[in-house]
């Protein structure tokens, strides 16, 4: 029993640290990608290739003066970024970071907890994240912040529905909400039978999901809650020092988590092609699988940035139009088509 707790504790700490590190280096990567896309070199002063830049940024954030506006609601002002950070990190609990690692005959699963409603849990936690933004925006007692917060909540609500609907078709196929089983469903090359990643069966669902995840993470082209050009900084206009840092961090952690979810749901998670045909040992497959998983996550994090530095921002009415009148009908159509195909091919 104690060994179980120690193993879980190590895993929790590792995942926690990993997500913080990922968020830190996402900021670095974001700046580098932005620079490279704009034919610049980006941060290159702190350490070789600017590798220590996130550290310098972190120190700067901690050292800055903390300002709480006179008219702000002080309690909520402090709670806001905490909620944003907390909910962002909580989502990492159910993500299957890897398969089983057998050490001394005891199998250790590289997943903190395998909930049989894991996907619902992620949805719940991620949608709680909007409270951080709303509370922060409202507590600032600033019109720009409030506008940003209102936009954030409206956007979240409208895209959550399309996101959920796009997932339903996938759940119909896999018949489970557990992320581990969804990954197992996509395991490739078992006994000569071909199993493709879900993106092959659900291209429309994937497209809808990734568009909605852009909106959920408040990333360009759907970064209306922040929209520096119109709302100063949106919901974090009044924030300074590490509270601001928490909001930015939460955004990057959300990005990391949603990249992980996309990889898990549609791109086979820890599976890689021919994983069972190469004659590797269980542990080797697990380690390689975790590596491929991180490569996939890295690609999607890069994809977020890539799109950010390419596309301009949607107008607010375009955003709402897209959410309610395009994505939701498409998602429902996707569910219907998937159901029809499943009935016709006797896969139920």
């Amino acid at each position: 029993m104690t060994s179980f707790f120690i193993y879980k504790a190590i895993l929790v700490v590792a995942v926690f640290g990993l997500m913080l590190m990922a968020a830190m280096y996402s900021t670095y990567l974001e700046r580098k990608v932005a620079a490279f896309i704009q034919d610049r070199v980006g941060p290159n002063r702190a350490g070789p290739f600017g590798i220590l830049q996130p550290l310098a940024d972190g120190i700067k954030m901690f050292m800055k003066e903390e300002i709480i506006p006179e008219v702000a609601n002080k309690t909520l002002f402090i709670i806001g970024p905490c909620i944003a950070m907390l909910t962002a990190i909580m989502a990492g609990v159910v993500i299957p970071w890897g398969g089983e690692l057998v050490i001394g005959g005891v199998p250790y699963v590289l997943q903190i907890i395998d909930l049989d409603f894991g996907l619902l849990y992620i949805f719940g936690v991620v949608s709680l994240g909007v409270y951080g933004i709303m509370i922060g925006g409202w507590a600032s007692n600033n019109k720009f912040s409030l506008l940003g917060a209102i936009r954030a909540s409206a956007q979240m609500i409208s895209y959550e529905i399309a996101m959920g609907l796009s997932i339903i078709a996938l759940i119909m196929m896999t018949g489970t909400l557990s992320l581990r089983e969804i990954v197992a469903f996509q395991e490739g090359g078992t006994g000569g039978a071909w199993n493709f990643w879900n993106v092959v069966y659900q291209p429309l669902g994937f497209l809808l999901f990734i568009v909605c995840s852009f909106a959920e993470c408040n990333r360009t082209p759907f970064d209306l809650p922040e929209s520096e050009t119109e709302l100063v900084g949106g919901y974090h206009t009044e924030y300074s020092s590490m509270k601001l840092g928490f909001y930015l961090f939460a955004e990057y952690i959300n990005m990391f988590v949603s990249s992980a979810v996309i990889s898990t749901l549609y791109f086979g998670g820890t599976n890689f092609p021919f994983m069972n045909d190469l004659g590797l040992s269980q542990n080797a497959i697990t380690i390689l699988g975790t590596l491929t998983f991180f490569i996939k996550i890295g690609f999607f994090v890069f994809f977020y940035m890539w799109v950010r530095w390419t596309l301009p921002r949607f107008r607010y009415d375009q955003l709402m139009y897209l959410g309610w009148r395009v994505l939701i009908p498409l998602a429902i159509a996707n569910v219907a088509i998937t159901g029809l195909v499943m009935i016709l091919t006797d896969r139920i």
């Binding site: 990608v33 490279f36 896309i37 704009q38 034919d39 610049r40 070199v41 290159n44 890539w306 799109v307 530095w309 390419t310 596309l311």
Partner: protein, 189 residues
């Protein structure tokens, strides 16, 4: 209706086609462009390590030249100050005393000579106006300062040291060299 100026343009605002309305082809086009830029050569010059090479006729900080014997060439004629469009140059003239022939080339010299580097636009007209080939713009940069006073350069900064001559040969364009060969111009005598 015809507009008053006749310059009005009828705007053509057609309905977007289906492909345009789903955005995706345009988005894919956009991200391929940014992807190409990702691997392109960067325009940045990493400044302290790398320095941009100056043009051979770069117009930077001025120098007041000495002649071959080390005497100041400037005679405080004031032509540079007159030519200066930014009115950056001021000077006071003084008469050479006996025994100062080593210091000043001609009987009159500039007792003070000041260029306000904040006013200067580095056009090079002073250099063009100078009949004595005393003032030149060089490829040195005017360094920064916190106070405006620091930008008024006097003779201490402008006159070239005897032991550390400033090379201005790069500023002598072929036209100038050609001009110098013609001996019947007073300038070249």
């Amino acid at each position: 209706m015809k507009s008053l100026t006749g310059r009005a343009k009828v705007l053509d605002n057609p309905k977007m086609s289906f492909l345009e309305r789903i955005y995706l082809p345009a988005i894919i086009g956009g991200i391929t462009i940014t992807l190409r830029h990702l691997f392109r050569r960067k325009a940045t010059i990493r400044y302290p390590e790398q320095k941009r090479t100056f043009s051979p006729v770069w117009r930077g900080m001025h120098v007041l030249k000495r002649d071959d014997n080390g005497a100041e060439r400037c005679t405080a004629c004031g032509l540079c100050a007159v030519a200066c469009p930014a009115e950056a140059i001021t000077m006071t003239a003084a008469e050479r005393k006996p025994g100062e022939e080593k210091l000043y080339r001609e009987e009159k010299y500039a007792a003070t000579y000041e260029i306000n580097m904040l006013r200067c636009i580095f056009c090079g007209l002073c250099e063009e106006a100078c009949p004595k080939e005393a003032i030149f713009l060089t490829d040195r940069l005017v360094s920064t300062d916190y106070a405006r006073d620091g930008f008024i350069y006097g003779k201490d900064k402008l006159v070239e040291p005897v032991d550390k001559r400033v090379d201005v040969s790069k500023r002598q364009t072929p036209n100038v060299l050609e001009f110098k060969k013609v001996k019947h111009y007073r300038h070249n005598r």
